[in-house]
Amino acid sequence: MGRSRGTGRPTHPLPIRIMHWVGASAIICMILSGWAIYNASPSLPFTFPRWITLGGWLGAGIAWHISAMWVLFADGLAYLAYGFLSGHFRRDLRPVGPRALLHDIGAALTFRLDHQLGHYNAVQRLLYSGVILVICLAVLTGLSIWKPVQLGWLTGVFGGYPVARGIHLAMMLCIVGFLALHLALVALFPRTLVSMIAPIEAEEGP
């Protein structure tokens, strides 16, 4: 398949590029400081090496966690508002039918899935909408274990404090899993990284 002609619009509009990197930085800070907090009382049979955690000990980990949370919160709200109002979610992220998804997963697993800048295939749509949902759940469970009394109704929705804490941890693992896959795919298609930084012209749709 030849390279498509230009479309005159950027692959990612400037607000998306800014919100992507602000959000990515906040998420990385949340994960690494979350590991410092986790290490204080691990509920799984492992701890994270101290050198990779942000803060290094519980008190500093919490300080980082409740600092980065404001960045994530503001960036996330701006992104959700933009996504709904601009039509970004409807146009780019709305999951397509199961048949297209199965086809694209098969193609991806055999490294035959083509990627065009400015158009998300079914696998991308599933991954991106999935991780947005997971991050929302991570934020809500995070709030529910930060304020299990003042936001007790929210903690109740998640089944009480210990369960909410477990879900919060599971969401972190999902986000880390997404990041591994995301970075691997970006490594396979390096121009997608460039397009998230510079206004690279989108290609024509399939």
Binding site: Y38, S41, W51, T53, L54, A60, I62, K147, V149
Partner: protein, 253 residues
């Protein structure tokens, strides 16, 4: 009982951690910079005077204000049936259980600061005040939690008894085991904040905070100071053992 060492390991634990962090830094420089040693180099663990640490302390103070605004003195903590009480309740302090101190002879609870009556309190006088029982969840800042039973004097009743200035901003607690903490007045007046005299339906033993401990279920566990020696009502933030090292001061739940 064996003789106490002049300095316990727990008392110098923070200094030891700081020294080992410096060792880690040297090691990191030798091995090429790792992410963690880079963090220590720039000072992001609340122990230095770096700009990042200053920003983190500023965010901690901002967080205190947000938490104070979220706090409602009418919102009650969930209570549980006796069957929910955690079996083999976990001991937790800034030292090991063998370092628990016995109650000093002639112990009295001192009161200080903005109070009308500074007469020290004996255990018998505290027992004579109205008592409340609760079965509530104790949530540790480390993330674990357990359900226990405590009973004792509601702190708001005690504060009124000593003629405390209820418009003062802080209530500070010092303990004869070297621990200290402080809370905001609104949380101190919460109906479920008690000066606990009993744990699990029995008078407190030293490891659970004898003779009197604070039990404040609207805050993280480290605020529920054990082995109380004195209570002070003040307008100057007194900080506390952990708070001075970087635990979030308000630490409400």
């Amino acid at each position: 009982m064996s003789a106490d060492p002049a300095v316990s390991r727990a008392e110098i634990a923070r200094e030891l951690a700081r020294l080992s962090r410096r060792g880690l830094l040297r090691q990191g420089l030798r091995q090429g910079l790792t992410l963690g040693s880079l963090g220590l180099l720039t000072g992001c663990d609340l122990s230095t005077h770096s700009g990042i640490d200053a920003a983190l302390w500023t965010m901690l103070r901002f967080n205190d204000r947000v938490q104070g605004a979220l706090f409602s003195k009418r919102r009650l903590v969930e209570t549980y049936p006796a069957s929910a009480i955690t079996k083999s309740f976990r001991f937790n302090a800034y030292y090991a259980v063998w370092q628990v101190r016995p109650v000093p002879d002639n112990w009295r609870l001192a009161v200080a600061g903005r109070v009308a009556d500074r007469t020290p309190w004996s255990l018998a006088r505290l027992r004579a005040l109205p008592q409340e029982a609760q079965i509530t969840r104790h949530i540790c800042i480390e993330g674990w939690s357990q359900i226990g039973q405590w009973s004792g004097v509601p702190l708001h009743i005690f504060l009124r008894h000593i003629g405390a200035d209820l418009r003062a901003r802080y209530v500070a607690f010092t303990c004869f085991d070297g621990y200290s903490t402080s809370i905001d007045m609104a949380s101190a007046l919460h109906p479920q904040t008690i000066l606990a005299l009993d744990f699990d339906w029995q008078p407190l033993t030293p490891e659970w905070g004898a003779p009197v401990r604070l039990r404040i279920p609207v805050k993280l566990g480290f605020k529920s100071a054990k082995n109380l020696q004195s209570i002070e009502v003040t307008n100057r933030n007194p900080g506390g053992y952990w708070e001075n090292q970087g635990y979030n001061w308000f630490s409400g739940v």
